[in-house]
Symmetry: C2
Subunit: 513 residues, 2 copies
């Protein structure tokens, strides 16, 4: 071990996913290496190396012999208190030349996509470099061929599941529609029919809840690879968080930057979805694409283009993909936010009278298409089922729910994941009322989602909205339109302020007689 | 003042230009506002508001009633110890919609460029957002019209100088050529001829030295607006750092991100140069564009295009711009790095025998063109001079230097800026030798610059290189090619390691008989 070492210490500083190292500005390492604030630094123990951003300190909370690591840097390095580490300038990130190339108009290839994804996976990219990569792929800047290259690269890093079944089902929704929480219902129906559906879901990206957030209010979702396998072996399905099994570790990193920039990339979306499904060992995937003026996909032609890229990227990599373009004009169900959506899901699975009918019907549509896809698969065991029309599978899905078999399956899965618990409701709430009489004629999904986010969802799992009206409903002046739930008064106030500034989130039009 | 306040404290943490606020993860503000690590937060005192990135802390170096500010955040806010501040979520940065638009293919306009530049100036952009903006303008993505819009926007924020002269000269080099330190020489020649040249220069961007770094080894360069004015009034010129007079405050911010990405944008380069010259009150500017395979501009056609954009952008805003396309095949002078270049400059100004002849000749070329531009200017007082050929002005420039008048002017300027001091040499040095006999046939300017940077330049002002050979020189095996200077052994080692891995920085070809 050479001269330029310091003793590592965990200083209890949270910098989220951004690895940071703190050193005294005048310690011997900063001086001999010529480090300054915000220098990208290589930190190496005898076991591992990471790249971190340096923040220099002139006062005494760390000593001249110590380097303090932020929580994420500590975890990435697998450090122990007092361990010796060496420091040097981070080497130049060679794959950034491909990012610059892409910005200059050179297409990504299998090789360049691989190098970029590998460097991101290994934590070599700073946030600024990640932002340049995200920007280089923004909108429709990735061709189908580039998207396939990126998808392959993303599959190459991270875990990959194997299942002892020839037909493995999966579903996905491209998002943008608040409350569209069909996954727990559809997965329960499919598994109750003897099929395999090892469902891993993400947490919310920009929305007020992801399926993983919603499921977590009822059962543990951060399962180990082995635990997930056991659940699927026993019950044919699981409802787990994808992040804890590292199916697509760079996805979370890219998504964090996309969120900060509020920037979408169709190619990255396709690569993210398809790579995760292939890594999860799926063979048949149905993708829900909600279309509406304030959904993620706004036009039918946009949905067709996205559908084409999803299907073709899947096909290029041996995955059977079908898509379902659905109505994205208003939120689905009543609840928006982890717990509030969980309550809708439970109402549907329990066949309660007040269960949201739109959520029920969407679930039947998706489940029936999945049942038909499974039956038609060349790998399926029971070939006689392939000939049946979609209506047959629709009735089959309906019967699975109505009979209580889907609910039983759901509870079995939750118990196997670590136990089912009934979700609680939030301590703070306030209702919002119509200030006119008329017909509910428009929902701005983005404003509705933002309202739920400001109320605290998904970080505050009990927070969110409960919608009391739907498109076409006739409302009186003073009638309750929705209720905002929050876990802190400050967040409730933010949400209410936002609603006051954006009353157009819900439009009430005078009735035309 | 409402409930969500904390007491500000300066915690001696340097985060360079990136404003950071540190709070206890479980303090009442984080809880009530729903803040998490890396949240963008608005910090407001009774006087001012800034946007900062939150880092949360779980241990005791700040209390639950305090918020710690990093040095730059403290400075931007103009805070005092113990001052009360309020905290809220940073509002969405509206102008980011224009950045997204630009990434989606929508051109910048006067209005959108203004909004973006204003928000950057006010510190509303995070590094990630800045990176997206830089990426959106990369390479040649800005049209001439967009470049003019961006230039106008950059002039609108920051100080603007006025001079009581009709003809105000300036020069600029687009960079990329190590050691091309003509500015102090040319400025001294021009001012010694009675013209006005209030020269402000930048610090190094990606190079081992900027003119401001070099000048700072001989005289103070961080002058106030008033001080600079006094120097120019007395001596017709100054040699100051542009950053301390806020001529183009957003330039430094953008350049830091471009450096981190190693990404160039022609449009941003043009906007940066022209906006600074106009803000500096110049009327006639000569721009040196070195061209060579490893210079910033690699081809003659690239230089022509850049020249066209510089001249046209200047013309659109009332600035007379001329360009000089020069040989960029090898470093200029002997020294590379702040002090080592200062030594070359002094050798030229003092007419020393060993002064680098290429630096002398480049200076004469630039000075003569500037003298002719001044004479031809419609605003010039002495119209008879306009008819003279360039050779006349070349002799005039030569005579100004040879007679010692340029040196006297240089010393006068330094004294007025705060005093002249002789630069010192570095404590660590090592020579590198040719391992073959032959002819010096190629310099890779990028590797040469990188070598000087690794040795510590410009942060370590004494660090850098001294070149002992030039293109076409015949060398023996074992002959000294260059000497590396450093202020720390670690940096010297870095540089030597790099040279061992990149011996192609200087190519020695067998002599063809």
């Amino acid at each position: 071990m050479e001269g330029n070492f310091l003793y590592l210490t965990k200083i209890g500083i949270d910098t989220y996913q951004h690895a940071v190292v703190f050193m005294r500005k005048d310690c011997h390492v900063c001086r001999s290496e010529g480090f300054n604030a915000m220098t990208r630094v290589r930190v190496s123990t005898s076991n591992k190396s990471i790249t971190a951003t340096l923040i220099t300190v002139s006062e005494a909370f760390i000593s001249h012999q110590q380097a303090g690591l932020s929580d994420v840097a500590w975890k990435m390095l697998g450090a122990t208190e007092g361990e010796v580490a060496q420091f040097s300038h981070a080497p130049a990130v060679d794959s950034m030349s491909y990012v610059r190339g892409k910005l200059y108009g050179v297409d990504l290839t299998d090789e360049s996509a691989n190098k970029i994804v590998e460097d991101i996976y290994n934590g070599h990219y700073s946030d600024v470099q990640l932002a340049a990569f995200v920007a280089s792929c923004a909108d429709d800047r990735l061709s189908l061929a580039e998207t396939i290259s990126l998808t392959k690269a993303m599959i190459n890093c991270g875990q990959r599941f194997q299942w002892p079944k020839k037909v493995v089902m999966d579903k996905h929704c491209v998002g943008g529609l608040p409350g569209n929480r069909t996954t727990p219902i559809v997965t329960s129906i499919i598994a109750a029919n003897g099929l395999t559906m090892p469902k891993t879901s993400s947490r919310a990206i920009t929305s007020p809840a992801g399926t993983a957030d919603t499921m977590e209010t009822m059962t543990p979702v951060a399962l180990s690879y082995e635990h997930m396998h056991r659940v699927v072996e026993q019950h044919g399905a699981c409802l787990a968080w994808g992040g804890s099994v590292s199916l697509s570790p760079i996805d979370d990193i890219i998504i964090r930057i996309e969120r900060a920039l509020d920037l979408d990339s169709e190619g990255q979306l396709v690569a993210s979805v398809i790579s995760k499904k292939i890594a999860a060992g799926s063979t048949c995937v149905l993708i829900d694409i909600p279309v509406g003026p304030s959904a993620k996909v706004r036009t039918h032609s946009g949905a067709e283009r996205l559908s084409h890229h999803l299907v073709e990227t899947g096909a290029a990599l041996g995955l059977h993909v079908e898509t379902l373009i659905t109505d994205g004009n208003q939120p689905v169900g009543k609840g928006i936010g982890p717990v509030l959506e969980a309550l809708d899901v439970l109402a549907v699975l329990r066949n309660e009278k007040n269960a949201p009918q739109d959520l029920v019907e969407r679930s039947f549509h998706l489940a029936s298409r999945l049942l038909k896809m499974a039956a038609e698969s060349p790998n399926t065991e029971d070939v006689t089922e392939a000939e049946k029309p979609l209506a047959f599978y629709y009735e089959k899905a309906k019967d699975t729910l109505r009979s209580g078999r889907a609910y039983k399956k759901f509870i079995d899965i939750c118990e196997a994941q670590g136990g089912f618990k009934e979700p609680k409701t939030a301590p703070f709430k306030q209702s919002l009322f119509s200030n006119a009489e008329g017909i509910v004629s428009y929902f701005n999904n983005r404003f509705i989602a933002k309202l739920a986010s400001l109320a605290g969802a998904p970080n505050a799992p009990l927070a969110g909205l409960k919608m009391h009206v739907r498109l076409g409903d006739r409302v009186r002046e003073g009638q309750e339109l929705l209720t905002v739930y929050a876990q802190a008064q400050g967040e409730l106030d933010y949400a209410l302020d936002f609603y006051r500034c954006h009353p157009e989130a819900i439009r009430i039009d005078k009735e035309i007689l």
